[in-house]
Symmetry: C2
Subunit: 187 residues, 2 copies
């Protein structure tokens, strides 16, 4: 073998990381294999020694990215409820998050395309989302967990589609206010 041991694994890891950023920003269907490979300094033909299809890549990227989201949402679980809630919501529902999909959560960026993908992709998505929900449910309950996820995702999706920054910020602020109030009251 003319390449160091672990070379393939390293390339695959870079592909998941750099590729994930690109498709969160520009979309999965609209990003070609060639430009995906460019992000790791390789040419298109080499793609298929790492993944059997483009859809296979989406599945792997989703697993990785959703894992990161789960860690992020549950990293401060030892804080008191109100503080944990406030910090987590302020971070997820920030204008920074809206403006930078490439470093953000895959759910608002990729869900619509997951909905149009094959069963394997959807299964990866469903499994990870279920885990995220379970972790949140421990603190705020089952219904509230799904509702909070849905609302955060929807707010980011809508804020990103707005023409003006001001409108996007309004959507975020309303969702933050509403969720904090509702989640602390119903507890």
């Amino acid at each position: 073998m003319r390449y160091a041991a672990g070379h393939k694994e390293a390339t695959r890891a870079r592909l998941l990381s750099a590729g994930g950023a690109v498709i969160k920003k520009n979309g999965f269907a609209t990003t070609g294999v060639d430009s995906l490979m460019e992000t790791v300094g390789l040419t298109g033909g080499a793609f298929y020694s790492h993944f059997s299809s483009k859809s296979d890549l989406l599945e792997a990227i989703l697993a990785r990215e959703l894992n990161l989201t789960r860690e992020m949402l549950t990293s401060k679980q030892d804080l008191p409820l109100e503080q944990w809630l406030s910090e987590t919501l302020n971070r997820y529902l920030s204008f920074e998050h809206v403006k930078h999909p490439e470093t953000g959560c895959p759910i608002p960026a990729l869900s619509t395309e997951v909905a149009r993908s094959d069963k394997a992709v959807k299964r990866a998505y469903e499994a990870m989302l279920g885990e995220i929900k379970n972790r949140l449910a421990k603190r705020i309950g089952q219904d509230a967990a799904w509702a909070a996820i849905a609302q955060c995702v929807g707010a980011v999706v809508i804020a990103r589609a707005m023409a003006s920054d001001a409108s996007g910020k309004k959507v975020l602020a309303s969702s933050r206010n509403f969720l904090k109030k509702a989640l602390l009251k119903n507890k």
Copy 2:
């Protein structure tokens, strides 16, 4: 002129209606001009006598579709709050809506692509969404209006990406429960 007066307008109207259904189902970027024209029984070349670009079509479709959503959400404004809320939420957050994007609301189907479109498209989106929010705000208040829209959109987006029907239904039910409780309490 070899075609009846109003023929062009009629073709354009059919294009907006049939095209809207197709792109809500299959996505805007992934649907070609040729297949868009097929839905109204014409060939690709004829597209450009109706719209100056594909993006121009998206703008027109959004205006039309969001107008329909607005009418739907506010059609039963004369009912008592609780009843209006319940009926509207049950309809928007239904499994039927999740399974049939082609006849459903454009916001969960197209927002992610609007976010990646040009300023004109985003302006059309922002203007119509603002109107929808204003109508809802009259009944439930400003923050709650944005929050409710965000949550409904997020729930449908997520439910559509789930592998199993059961998971999608859970997300919908949680959002329905949570929203009804929160909106009636905070009033």
